[in-house]
């Protein structure tokens, strides 16, 4: 068994992971060895699919913007569940990130005089979303990957999938990692680590995210005794194309697109008369589903999904080609619709995980309200600081990834510079844990049983359940049914069989491991959603439709027990903005 020792290991090579790697390399000035692990090729992380933009108060003197306005927009957008001290830190650091990314070479779209262009986005009262055509996430990812290659002390491991955390006495020790190319288990021991493994929206079948976004980091942290926070808040992006589920960026609405129902009306006038289509995502998503539920939506003949129209025809071909070229290409290739001449069929799609690993204001992972894991950080969608609270505003996620990539990279590098090498010893209890993990993967998952379950059937069942019962509108009966099905699936999962016996690039094995993580995450989502008897942000209960600040102004923490998640609660940190009614 190969044992690799590094000063800092970063799990995940998305925006947050690569930004952390670059910051750690800069902070340490080449003195520490850093490893970046990705279960696919490092430059193909799902951050590349982000389209709309990244927010930051760049030119306050020109637009009349200020940190306070950005903070207020974010906090109001989060339905007042965001921790306000973290939001204040975040908005102060976001513009520095935009400049830093520019210095790395991101091809921002520019104003005629050469400054970075900014546009309006959902829930933002002033245009502060910088963008690079409509592939902002892709250009930033590509630039970060290209730039991380310049550091000799950063090793990038493609096709390496972490399967568990190794912890000892509350201190993080390392990862057990499956080398997918060779099919062997390796151990990565580290003085410090950053979890940047992304969200978990793939627990749904109809989703904008790639097949790799399975919540591995959150599930592994959960099983290692670290709490995951606010998992019931899953964001549904209003405009996912039907039937593929692929994302149509919010910028389409930011540039002036209309949402039209079957009667040809811009129905957002009835739900958010001031902001119309550029209201926050949870409000628009609920509006669309309401329209479909009340019979004013279209029905897609092949998949049976209800949808409404996103109309961009009035924007004109030139504006679409300059500002939204990727949308045009996707609509034409995937659903044979040219947005210059026809409206695009869209429907709310599972998109972003507001919840994640519990951290403090600076991205440092915590066991509860007071105790830290001394050498573990989390950044990006995998973490819940929480900046986004119950609902995320568009273009805040790329900013969060970059800001927290920087903060955690710096903090982890400083820790690793001072930590002693004795941390990298493989004690006998750790060896035991590694052997157990090896047995779990290679003996138990490869087990041959006559009436074994098919992991793909289980996955299909999971997707159907989540899409039906844990979608935009939830209620007690549906959630209880979903919980029963998931527990049943978890029992079935113990008896699955992996058909592919080869070692190299065994996708069957990889997907079986991911399925285990997805089932854990789904269970946490359902249990948390069932417990929260109010509606806030993206979590809407038909049986409890009002927001309840008296009882529920708190974060949900879910801890692992063999019988299922145990829930605990910690208060939201309020500094200057008192919770108020959320109207747009």
């Amino acid at each position: 068994m190969e044992i690799l020792r590094y000063d800092l290991v970063i799990l995940g090579s998305g925006l947050a992971g690569l930004r952390a790697g670059i910051q750690a390399a800069l902070t340490s000035k080449g003195k520490i060895r850093i490893a970046v692990l990705s279960k696919i090729h490092a430059m193909r992380s799902h951050s590349v699919a982000a389209e709309g933009g990244i927010a930051g108060v760049l030119y306050p003197e020109v637009t009349g913007d200020s940190f306070d306005v950005h903070a207020y927009d974010t906090i109001k957008g989060s339905d007042f569940l965001a921790d306000q001290d973290a939001v204040e830190l975040f908005v102060k650091l976001a513009p520095e990130e935009l400049r830093f990314l520019d210095h790395l070479g991101v091809p921002w779209s520019r104003t005629p005089d050469g400054r970075i262009a900014q546009r309006l986005f959902g829930g933002m009262s002033i245009p502060r979303t910088a963008f690079a055509a409509d592939k902002t996430g892709f250009f930033i990812m590509s630039t970060l990957y290209d730039n991380i290659l310049r550091f000799d002390n950063v090793d990038i491991y493609h096709d390496h999938m972490a399967t568990s955390f190794l912890m000892e006495n509350g201190v993080f020790k390392g990862f057990t990692v499956l080398d997918l190319k060779e099919g062997t288990l390796k151990v990565f021991l580290a003085k410090a680590a950053i979890i940047a493994s992304g969200g978990a929206a793939r627990i749904y079948g109809f989703t904008t995210v790639s097949y790799a976004v399975t919540g591995d980091g959150a599930a592994m942290a959960y099983r290692a005794g670290i709490p995951v926070k606010d998992m019931e808040f899953m964001q549904f992006h209003p405009t996912g194309v039907v039937p593929a589920g692929v994302l149509i960026t919010e910028a389409a609405r930011g540039e002036g697109g209309y949402l039209i129902n079957k009667d040809g009306e811009r129905f957002m006038a009835r739900y958010a008369p001031q902001r119309m289509e550029v209201a926050p995502r949870d409000i628009v998503a609920r509006a669309i589903i309401r329209e479909i539920m009340e019979g004013r939506g279209f029905i897609h003949e092949e998949s049976g999904l209800g949808y409404v129209h996103l109309d961009l025809r009035h924007l004109g071909e030139e504006k679409i080609n300059t500002r939204l070229p990727f949308i045009r290409e996707l609509a034409k290739k995937l659903v044979n619709v040219d947005p210059v001449y026809e409206p695009i069929p869209v429907r709310p799609t599972a998109h972003y995980t507001m919840g994640g690993i519990h951290t403090d204001t600076y991205g440092h992972v915590m066991f509860d309200a007071k105790n830290y894991v001394p050498n573990l950080w989390a950044a990006g969608e995998a973490a819940a600081v929480s900046i986004h609270g119950a609902n995320r505003l568009g273009s805040n996620s790329l900013a969060e990834c970059s800001v927290y990539g920087r903060l955690t990279g710096e903090a982890a590098a400083k820790y690793a510079l001072e930590a002693s090498s004795s941390m990298l010893e493989l004690s006998s209890s750790l060896e035991e844990a590694v052997k157990r993990e090896e047995k779990r993967i290679f003996d138990e998952l490869f087990k041959t049983e006559t009436n074994a379950e098919d992991p793909y059937q289980i996955r299909g069942e999971l997707w159907r359940t989540m899409d039906t019962y844990v979608y935009v509108f939830r209620d007690e009966k549906g959630l209880m049914e979903a919980g029963r099905i998931i527990r049943d699936l978890k029992n079935k999962y113990k008896r699955i069989r992996v058909d592919d016996r080869s070692r190299k690039y065994n996708m069957n094995l990889r997907e079986a491991i991911e399925l285990g993580n997805m089932l854990d995450v789904a269970e946490i989502v359902i249990v948390s959603a069932l417990a929260r008897t109010e509606s806030r942000g993206a979590h809407y209960r038909l049986d409890y439709p009002k927001r309840d600040d008296v009882n529920w102004l708190k974060h949900t923490l879910a801890y692992y027990t063999p019988e299922g998640p145990r829930l605990d609660y910690i208060p939201v940190r309020i500094t200057r903005w008192k919770p108020e009614e959320r109207k747009y």
């Binding site: 090729h41 005089d113 593929a244 692929v246 058909d499 592919d500 190299k504 996708m507 038909l542």
Partner: protein, 260 residues
């Protein structure tokens, strides 16, 4: 209240696209040439699968994996043509499986792993050498004052026309399709390849960059830009229309005319 609403919830938030109510579908044949690492050679697997009019080749392959053969290994991730994982030879042409419509290709689709890369298993190929070549041309923003670059007090100004000069080539998703199509890559393993040369140009043409002469020295040899003899196949197959052949011509022009 619960009875009515939960019925509403489950009835109206209908099923995922996996359950189709009324699909125009067709039965097609996939002939997949897979590499067997234990035997050290290729084997042919033939599958019949039903596809709807919107299904892509990747959808068809994933249906095969799910319903017929769990051992078929395919590299894929985003299924929207932006990550570059699923490049493979489809009917002899290197394409992204997730952006290629299946029904429009006819009754039989022949699928092979991406050419000019060493195969590892089934449709997986080893792209390490391409990544190494990419790193060797220093594909990052080179500034003389690195201290200033990384402390970033003010953004660099760049006019829209200056962005246009290189932005087309920065849309490259590093899928490897151009490397599979290029005949020079096929016959000369040391040739840097269209993707790498296009990226060398992308960074050299960026008005914020100050290291073009360094990269020109790296590519100015028969294994660099002068190994290209304009077969143009790279630009013909690029799934993002990123036009690497144009980048190589512009790179050659810059080197020959002594720009920067």
């Amino acid at each position: 209240m619960s009875e009515k609403t939960s019925g509403a919830v489950s009835k109206l938030q209908l099923s995922t696209p996996e359950i189709s109510l009324k699909t125009v579908s067709k039965l097609i044949t996939l002939k997949v040439k897979r590499y067997d690492p234990d035997a050290g050679r290729y084997k042919l697997s033939i599958y019949r699968v039903s596809v709807s009019r919107f299904d892509t080749v990747l959808d068809a392959l994933l249906k095969v994996v799910r319903d017929q053969d769990h051992t078929l290994s395919v590299r894929y991730s985003c299924r929207m043509g932006i990550c570059g994982s699923c490049a493979m030879m489809i009917n002899g042409v290197p394409r992204l499986a997730c952006m290629t419509n299946a029904i429009s290709l006819g009754e039989v689709i022949e699928i092979e792993p991406l050419k000019n890369f060493p195969p590892v298993k089934d449709l997986f190929v080893d792209m390490d050498q391409m990544f190494r070549k990419h790193r060797s041309v220093k594909p990052w923003l080179i500034r003389r004052d690195e201290e200033e670059q990384f402390t970033a007090k003010k953004e660099y100004l760049q006019k829209p026309e200056e962005v246009d000069a290189y932005r087309l080539f920065s849309t490259c998703i590093k899928c490897g399709a151009c490397m599979a199509a290029c005949p020079t890559v096929a016959s000369n393993p040391d040739f840097l390849g269209p993707m790498v040369l296009a990226q060398a140009y992308r960074w050299s043409a960026d008005s914020r960059d100050e290291g073009a002469h360094i990269r020109f020295d790296i590519v100015d040899n028969p294994n660099g830009v002068f190994g290209c003899h304009f077969a143009g196949a790279c630009s013909a197959v690029c799934p993002k229309n990123s036009d690497p052949a144009l980048a190589i011509q512009l790179l050659r022009k810059s080197i020959l005319r002594g720009k920067r």
